[in-house]
Symmetry: C2
Amino acid sequence: MIRLALNTATTRRQWDLREAIEGCQRHGFTAIAPWRDQVEALGVGNTARSIRDAGLEVTGYCRGGMFPAATATLRKAAIHDNQRMISQAAEIGAPVLVLVCGGLVEGSRDLAGARQMVEDGIASIMDEARSAGVRLAIEPLHPMQAADRSCINTLDQALALCDRLDPDTSGLVGVAIDAYHLWWDPQLETQLQRAGSNRLMGFHLCDWLVPTRHLVTDRGMMGDGVIDLPGMADSMRRAGYDGTAEVEIFSDHWWSRPADEVMKVCRQRAAPILDHLHHPS
Amino acid sequence: MIRLALNTATTRRQWDLREAIEGCQRHGFTAIAPWRDQVEALGVGNTARSIRDAGLEVTGYCRGGMFPAATATLRKAAIHDNQRMISQAAEIGAPVLVLVCGGLVEGSRDLAGARQMVEDGIASIMDEARSAGVRLAIEPLHPMQAADRSCINTLDQALALCDRLDPDTSGLVGVAIDAYHLWWDPQLETQLQRAGSNRLMGFHLCDWLVPTRHLVTDRGMMGDGVIDLPGMADSMRRAGYDGTAEVEIFSDHWWSRPADEVMKVCRQRAAPILDHLHHPS
């Protein structure tokens, strides 16, 4: 067993959710982070039962967010959609709903406006999240995805949002740290310490390839790229994170490989990083 | 005439430097920012004469930098190379050497180490720059180019470097602002004001396309993407920048078009942005 979660995006072309759950058991992963399309395909109740029966932890439910929209009606629909996801998260035992916040409104260049819509959107779902016992993890995305996936692009920015939304640091709103999105940030170490244990709600692993051939689907397997993942794990540990790490690799290459091979390589490559995350050397 | 520079990267597949100089005259551009390979192909003396005879301003010489390297010998070679570029810049009448600082050392994951090499490298060429009357413009590059082109990725980071290298704000070290690299930054406005007129040494225009299909060669023509370029020009003006803007488009698409067409479209699309840059509304 290894204290590692499979984010099901990693095997989404090979496995449905039931296969992914079985794969986690077979390869000794202790946790899973399922995506909504696969959860709904299996059924929320069935998902909850299958994960529980398999004895897996759920690290997070992917993904809420996508708040910016052109009209008030559409923004309200996005909020309702997030509220449904909160109740699904609670049902499948996910402690955290991961928020990919959304980019510019289509046809708009108003980045500040989109950022305000994200803040308003998260503010609108906090009551449901609190009642359901589901925490909200803002995932800052790489600046190259600012236009189309998320206008929240640095940890500093995400934490400023947390400060405004949850000034008492109740632990309801926090951040998911994805190595791929944040490795380049000169402020990373400082901002991780600022976040602290109460706001660090996830640690996603993959690697940055050189060259990178596609902005979304060319992430690397840990060790194949340039990110100092053991160093980042040290920073996470020092900042107070003691949760499970999660492998999340969007990759045309790894989607073309047999999923059992992917799981084996993930496990092997993650092990030394998890050592840094869980055991001070 | 339009107070606009052609960065010759924009037409590098179609035109040599002599053709680019003639193109600027023909299309009423007032300035040019040449790249070293084309300058050396034409000869530094010939370049200086041709630009002077054409009555063009030089906004900057592209590009110095690329400081990180695996050995002290290689780092010294990079410094010598930058010193040669400073003297070439002076000879062609470029007030500014643009620095694309360099990424990780090949095979290394030490981002902090690379950043230190950049700082040491710039420190090593400041005397030559001062003597030659050539200013050094650090160009922060988009975080997606942190590994292979520049480990200086935000304006905040570049200005912190300026603060350490030139604490008296003598104007010797500053920044080149490229819309493509910085548009996403939540701190952009604040950091532009922090930079101020003494450190703002260039304003490069192009646009961010959605989707972006290549990390280097899929930049957009102004107006074809999502960057609020008039808004950014307003911010530059308010921060005290009163220099010439420069079109710099790395684009497989625009490289495949006749260069006269490219110049015409650049001019047309830049005009309303320049209005914002040079005239408070």
